[in-house]
């Protein structure tokens, strides 16, 4: 649904980081926060539990700059990954323009990866959105784990038809973080120009 925006010639896009608990969604945003110059980003807001698990969301606004007279901005959100926070995830997906799915490479998280992708499809559907209509990028995180699963095995349960662009990442070191964000942002912007 299009939202009326009275800010003078401003385009705002919402990108949501989705994935199982502890896969590295918040770490992605923290890295972006630490690396993007202060005048090009806003404050990072984190709503977390006492043990630093995301409770509702993390939020980080980015200013891209002016393009053809339009001030263009991205709002980055993470969602809580734990199963019992599904109500929060549904709310944060409202008005989403692009999604980064952050998968966990640990062997014992393979099922959680699959469940989270299924949950994403279900929650999008409740908003009347087909998962194929949203730009989605797959980030396979924690590639530095000694027992990390092969990316092909992870992809087999998350993206069996290989429809998504994939990036390997180590978000705690910043590896793959910007590449992922840049790609999903480009996909969102391209969709804007297609006027769908």
């Amino acid at each position: 649904m299009s939202t009326i925006n009275f800010a003078a010639r401003e385009i705002n896009c919402k990108i949501v980081y989705y994935g199982p608990g502890m896969s590295g969604k918040t770490t992605n945003l923290k890295h972006v926060f630490s690396k993007v110059p202060g005048h090009l980003r806003g404050e990072m807001v984190s709503l977390a539990t006492e043990d630093e698990r995301t409770l509702f969301f993390d939020f980080l606004p980015l200013d891209l700059g002016s393009v053809q007279g339009f001030k263009t901005r991205f709002h980055l959100y993470t969602v809580p990954g734990q199963v019992f926070y599904n109500a929060s995830r549904k709310l944060i997906l409202r008005g989403v323009d692009g999604i980064v799915f952050v998968a966990d490479s640990a062997p014992n998280r393979l099922r959680a990866n699959a469940e989270s992708m299924r949950n994403l499809r279900e929650n999008l559907q409740e908003h009347g959105i087909d998962v194929r209509d949203v730009p989605i990028v797959l980030q396979i995180n924690k590639r530095d784990l000694p027992d990390a699963l092969p990316t092909s095995m992870i992809r087999a349960v998350i993206d069996p038809k290989q429809e998504l662009q994939v990036f390997e990442a180590m978000s705690d070191k910043g590896v793959g973080v910007f590449e992922t964000l840049k790609t999903v942002s480009r996909l969102v912007l391209e969709r804007l120009s297609q006027n769908k």
Partner: protein, 161 residues
């Protein structure tokens, strides 16, 4: 189909801006924001005498997310909506009220401003803004071309390497 939030501007923006400005002048509210339900600031006004405002992006996204959570609660409890929220602290008040289904009027004011007065005038302003938003529903969307996405992609490269 997802559509990104696009700017609509000109006369309608000016009129909404003016209504919020008048509300601030009449009531003594420090900050007035119109926030969409995705968490973006649509319009904001600050009283001339007010100190530096809080980070508007953060206020807007928290207000919208709070409203979304509250709407979910209303639904669970069999209510159509909980349209109004008031948070009173020692020094001031945050007041949020729905404007139709798409936006939220957010007012921040200090303890010297009577809440009742704000509520009375806010409801009038909300009706005025809602009428303007209704007029905009049938307007054609802003069209962008490939030059836009290419220009924006160039800025992405600058920002993210």
């Amino acid at each position: 189909m997802i559509e990104p939030t696009l700017a609509l501007y000109g006369d309608a923006f000016e009129r909404v801006d003016q209504h919020i400005q008048e509300l601030l002048e009449t009531t003594g509210v420090r900050y007035g924001l119109l926030v969409d339900r995705k968490g973006f600031v649509l319009s904001h006004k600050e009283a001339l005498w007010a100190p530096r405002p809080p980070a508007l992006d953060s206020v807007a996204t928290l207000v919208a997310s709070n409203a979304a959570a509250t709407a979910a609660l209303a639904n669970m409890l069999g209510e159509r909506t909980f349209s109004e929220q008031i948070h009173q602290g020692e020094n001031g008040t945050l007041y949020v009220e729905s404007v139709g289904t798409d936006s939220l009027l957010t007012l921040i004011f200090d303890a010297s401003v009577p809440l009742g007065k704000v509520k009375v005038y806010a409801k009038k302003t909300i009706a005025q803004i809602a009428a303007i938003l209704d007029e905009l529903k049938d307007l054609p969307p802003v069209q962008l071309n490939d030059d836009f996405s290419q220009g924006a992609a160039s800025l992405l490269d600058d920002l993210l390497g």
